[in-house]
Amino acid sequence: MVMTKRVLVVDDQPELRKLVRLSLEMGGYEVFEADNGQRCLELLRVVKPGIVVMDAMMPGRYDGFQACQKVKAEYPHIKVIMLTARAQQADRELAAKVNSDAYVTKPFSPMALLDILEEVAK
């Protein structure tokens, strides 16, 4: 069973993961972390999150957009929120193309992130 209050945060920057973790815990979410796209795909089976918060720019085998595409292909019911560096038209289009459910532009207020999670979880 998918836990809607369970979130997997995927980002290569530990400080940003911690910011997202503390923000989401404030909203009562249970938070798990992965530091790259590959690890995210491995953890999905175990963690069974309802929502994935994914940084767009990550080093490694998959960047955030590619990882999102894979998540949505394999688990269409999991909601994916992309974290993008700036509200670039190109990034927005890419986020839509890989079927993400929403995107948040950095820097974000923790409350803005929580609002988007609530919106997406509906």
């Binding site: 400080e15 700036r86 670039q88 950095k106 820097p107």
Partner: protein, 229 residues
Amino acid sequence: VNMQVGIEQVGEIVNAQHAIQRAEVAGLTRLVRAARFHDDDTGAHIVRVAFLSLELARLMGLPQEQQLPLFYAAALHDVGKVAIPDAILKKPGRLTAEERDVMQSHCWAGARLFAHDESDIAHACRTVALNHHENYDGSGYPNQVQGEEIPLQARIVSVADVFDALTMERCYRPAMSYEHALSLMCGEMLRKFDPQCIRLFSDNIDHFKALHGLINRLGAVDDLFDFYG
């Protein structure tokens, strides 16, 4: 200029824009780090003011594209203090009139750091550095501007900065409770603030209390200012 730009060229332009923004953000991140080294509260004040300002900007309905410039501008509101001698900056006692003038010149010094740069981030940083001590009733400094003549970004940062300063421990007084700080800001200090800013701040004080605690629990934060990392 050739108006017939092909799809490959659009890609190149987007990449070039990314590269420019990346370089600008890297430079700003270093400046934030320098300001944090220089701060007397291990730099946490700077980070809290950045996030408190960002949340207040969101509540005020500031468009998304203005939020990143405001975030840096808020973090760098006091960066001009690098130009103030420590003998004045860290003087425990009362400042003389002359020393106070020097101290207040940090607004100009901060603005000068971002002179001759018309990027939206530099513009916000310059505006906030110069105007964050201006008061809505005209009683502030350095130019005693008042009301809506004070740029909105500076009016937002002013509320966040004062709240954070009051709730911080100082060598001459203990930290105020959130409630005490808010009652002071909505009481005798009220006329210093933009009425809409202070009302939204007060109505959503739970957000700001939560944010304050959250930033204190974060610990390391330098990378949070480098969004392209």
